[in-house]
Amino acid sequence: MKFFVLVLFSAIIWTSSAQETISGKVVDTSGNPIVGANVYLEGTYDGSSTDETGNFSFQTSETGTQTLVISMMAYEPHYEIGEVSYLKNLDIKLIEAVNQLSGVTLSAGTFEAGDNSKVSVLKPLDIVTTAGAAGDFVAALQTLPGTTTVNEDGRLFVRGGSAEETQVFIDGLRVFQPFNATTNNVPTRGRFSPFLFKGITFSTGGYSAEYGQALSSVLLLNTTDVPDEEKTDISVMSVGGGVGHTEIWDNTSLSVNASYINLSPYEALIPSTQGMEWNDPYESISGESVFRVKGDRSMFKFYTGFNHAALDIAQEDINFEDLIRFQLKNRNLYFNTSYKHFFENNWSIFSGVSMANDVNEIAIMEDAVDSEEINSHIKIAAKKGFSNRFELNTGVELFSTKYDETYQDVDGFTFDGGYDDVLVAGFLEGDIFFNQKFAVKLGVRAEDSNVLDQFSISPRLSLAYKSSEKGQFSLAYGDFYQKPLAESIKFDQSLDLEKTSHYILNYQYLDNGKTFRAEAYYKDYDDLVKFDTQFPEFNSNYSNLGKGYAAGIDVFWRDNKSIDNLDYWASYSYLNTERDYRDFAEAATPNFAPEHNFSLVTKYWVNELRSQVGLSYSFGSGRPYDNPNTQEFMAEKTKTYNNLSLNWAYLIDQQKILYFSVSNVLSFNNVSNYQYANVPDSTGFYNRRAITPPADSFFFVGFFWTISTNKKSNQLDNL
C-alpha cells in the first residue's frame, strides 16, 4: 500500500518536472512594454498576462509544436509557432491594429451624425433638438459651417453653390425630390422624419467616387437596421398632427407614420402679412413606411414615402398693382428598396432601386404649368475588405429621368417641353490604411449621359494624416459633374455637363467632448449654363460658357463637457465666390452667397425642470443684389441677417413631452433681396420692393406622446 502511494506521488512529481517554461517580452513598435497582453498556447488554458515591464512567463505541460498567441486590444494579434521548448525569452513586437476607434479617419469635407462614429460631430438627437430647426433636420444642418443662411429657401446652399448642387441619398440611393414643393419666399422643409435614420453624413465637398451628379455637396441618410422597440407615437401640433407605429417580429420590422399639416388655424390666429396673403395656406398629407428584414448575413429594406401638398398664395410684385396669385398642387411618391448581403471572406454586395414620381400642377395668375417627372436609380455595388488595411468598393449605376411639362398661357398658347435621359455610371474606389497614422482613399468615377451625349471621368482623392493623438490633417481633391437643371435641359439638349473641382485642406482636433475643425477650400466651376433671357425660355440661347470660383474657410467648435448640462457649438464660414452663370451680365457674387456666416447653437438641460432649453443665434452678412439704378452689376448688399430662436422641451413624464419654440424672438426685419421694377418710372428711376419673410417670427407648440409596452421611450428624439 505504501508503495502505491509512493508511485502515485512520484507520478505527480514527474508530471510537474515535465513542465516547460514559456517566457518573453511584449513591446509595441516603439519598444514600449505592453502591459496586460494575453499570452497563451492556442487551445489550452496555459497562459499568462504580461506584467508592468511587458514580461510574461508561464509553465505548460504541453509538448511538441504549439501556437503561442499574444492578443491585446487595439493591436493586431501575434502568433508564434514552434516547439514548446524553444518558446523562451521571446521578443515580441505587436503592431497597432488599424481601427476606426483610435486610428486615422478619411473625413475631409464630411460631417457625420452617428451614434458611435468617431467623425460624428452631431448626434441624431442634436439635429432634432436644435432651436429654430423645428424638427427639420435640414434646418439643423444649416448651423454647420460651409452652409450659408438663405432663410427664405430652406434648402442647403453649400460653399457658394446653389441649392440644386446638393444631392440627397437614402441608403445609397438617390432621392429625387428631397424637399417639399413650395413657392418663392416660402421656406421648404425636408420630406423625411429624422427618426427613421440611424446615421446622417453631410459632405460639404471632396466626397467619395460612389456619389456623383452633385457639384457641391451630398447628404447621405441611412435608415435604421433594427428598431429598438415596438411603440405608437402620437403628436398634436399647432400646425397639424401625426401618428406612427413600429411593429417588430423577430428579425422583421415595420414602421409606419402619417401626418397631416395645415397652416390655416395658425394663420387665422397669427396671420402672415408681409408682402403676401394666403388664399389657402399650406396643407399636406404625408406618410412613410419602412419594412426591414435582417438575416444572419443580409439586410433587406423597403422604404416608401408619399406626400400630397397644396397651397394657394397671393404675393406682391413690383410690376403689378395687384397681388400675384400662385397655386400649387404637388404629389410625390417615392420608393427605395435595397438588399445587402455579407459573404464569407469580407465580401459584401449591395443592390438597390429607387423610384420617384413627382407631379406638379401650378397656376400663376392665368397661366398654367403642369409637369410630371419620373426618375429612377438602380445601383449594384460590391465591397471587399482584403484586410483591415485595404478595402475596395466598386459598382455600377443607372439613372433615368423622364420629364414632361405643358405650359398654357391665358390666350390658349401652349408649349410642351420635356426630355428623357439615361445616365450610366461606374465607380471604383480603394481605401488604404498604411498604418494607424496615414490613410488614402483613391477613386475614379465615369459617367455617360445619353441625352447630352457626353462622357466624363472624375478622379477623387482623399488623404489623411494623424499628426497627434487627437489631431489630424486631411487633404481632398475631386472633379464633380452634374447635368444642367431641367429648366434649361428641357429646352436645349445640346448642353454639356457642368463641372467643379474641389481642393480641400482640413484640420480636426477631437478631445473628449470637444471638437475643433477648420477647413480651407477652393472650388473651381466650369461649363456653367448661361442663357440670354431673364429666365430660361424655349427661345433663349443656351451655352456652357459660364464659370466661377468659390474659396473660403470653415471653422467649427463644439464642447459638451466643460460646463455641466450645457452643450453648444459654434460655426463660422468665410466665403469668397463669384460666378458668371444663367443671365448674369458678368461674374459676380450671387444673392445666395453672403460673405460671412456665423451660428451658435446652445442646449441646456435643467434637471429640476426635466427640461431642455435651447437657444440658437445665426448671423449672415449682407446679401448681394443688383440695383438697375446703378451702372454696376450685383454691387449692392442687403443689411445683415440676424435670427435668435428659442425652444423648450418639457418631459411631463416618461412618455409625454411638451415642446415650445419660437423663431426670431427679437423680430429682426430680415431682407433677403430686392425686386426692382422691369421698367423705370417717369423720372427714370427703377422702383423696388424688399423681399422679406412672410412673418418675422414663427411660433410652434407640440405635444408628443409615445405609447410603448415598456413605458420607457419618448419622442424627445423626435423633436
Binding site: 497563451y40 416618461q654 420607457k712 421611450s713
Partner: protein, 208 residues
C-alpha cells in the same frame, strides 16, 4: 490511510480529465476577479473561452469582468476598449447560447455602462434598447431573480428621475430577494449567481 488514498486517487483521476481543468481554470479566474486583478481575470476567462468554444460561460464572464470594471472608469479610451471587448464576447456567447436571459441582462449591463459614462450621448439611444432587452429576458425567464432585479433597478432609475412612485419596483426587488434565497443552484457549474447582495441593498433603500 485507506481513505486518504482513495481520496487522492479520485482527485488525481479528476485532474486528468478535462472537466476538472475547466473547474480549476474557472475557479482560478474567479479568484483573480475577487482579488480585483481585472486584466488577469479577463485574460484567463478569455483563454478558457478560446479553448472551450462551445461553452457560453467563459465568454459570459470575460464580458462581465470587463463590463463591471467599466463602471466609474473615466478614461474614455480604456472604457471604450473594455466595453467593446465585452460586447464582442457577449455576442459570441449569444451565438453559442441563443435566447439566454443571462446574456440579455449582460447586454443591458454593457449598455448601462455606456449610459453611466455619458448619459447625454448614450441615454436616448440605448435606454429604449435596454427596456426591450429586459422585457425579452423577463419573457424567457419570469422567475429568474437576476432578471427581475436588474429590470426593477433599471425601471427605478427613471421613475426616480420623473418623480414617480417607486413602490411597484420595490415589490419586484423584494420578490427577487426571495427568489435569490430560494433559488436552487443550477446544475451547470459556474452558472451566474450574482445579484443577491445588491438586491438586498436596494431593498434596504426602499424600506428606509
Amino acid at each position: 490511510m485507506k481513505k486518504l488514498i482513495v481520496t487522492l486517487f479520485i482527485a488525481v483521476s479528476i485532474t486528468a480529465s478535462a472537466q476538472d481543468r475547466y473547474t480549476e481554470g474557472m475557479s482560478k479566474a474567479m479568484q483573480l476577479w475577487g482579488e480585483q486583478k481585472i486584466t488577469e481575470a479577463s485574460n484567463l476567462f478569455e483563454r478558457i473561452a478560446m479553448a472551450e468554444p462551445d461553452n457560453w460561460l467563459p465568454y459570459y464572464y470575460a464580458a462581465l469582468v470587463n463590463t463591471t470594471a467599466s463602471f466609474g472608469e473615466k478614461d474614455v479610451t480604456k472604457l471604450t476598449q473594455q466595453l467593446e471587448k465585452a460586447k464582442e464576447f457577449s455576442d459570441v456567447a449569444k451565438n453559442i447560447s441563443p435566447e439566454n436571459p443571462e446574456l440579455l441582462v449582460l447586454e443591458a449591463l454593457i449598455n448601462t455602462a455606456w449610459i453611466a459614462y455619458d448619459g447625454e450621448t448614450y441615454g436616448m439611444t440605448l435606454s429604449g434598447k435596454n427596456a426591450q432587452l429586459y422585457n425579452e429576458a423577463l419573457q424567457l425567464a419570469p422567475n429568474n431573480p437576476r432578471v427581475i432585479f436588474s429590470k426593477a433597478e433599471w425601471d427605478m432609475g427613471s421613475a426616480r428621475f420623473f418623480g414617480k412612485d417607486i413602490t411597484p419596483y420595490c415589490q419586484d426587488v423584494e420578490r427577487a430577494v426571495e427568489l435569490f434565497a430560494t433559488a436552487e443552484s443550477k446544475e451547470e457549474p459556474f452558472y451566474p449567481d450574482w445579484g443577491a447582495d445588491r438586491a438586498k441593498q436596494v431593498l434596504a433603500q426602499c424600506k428606509s
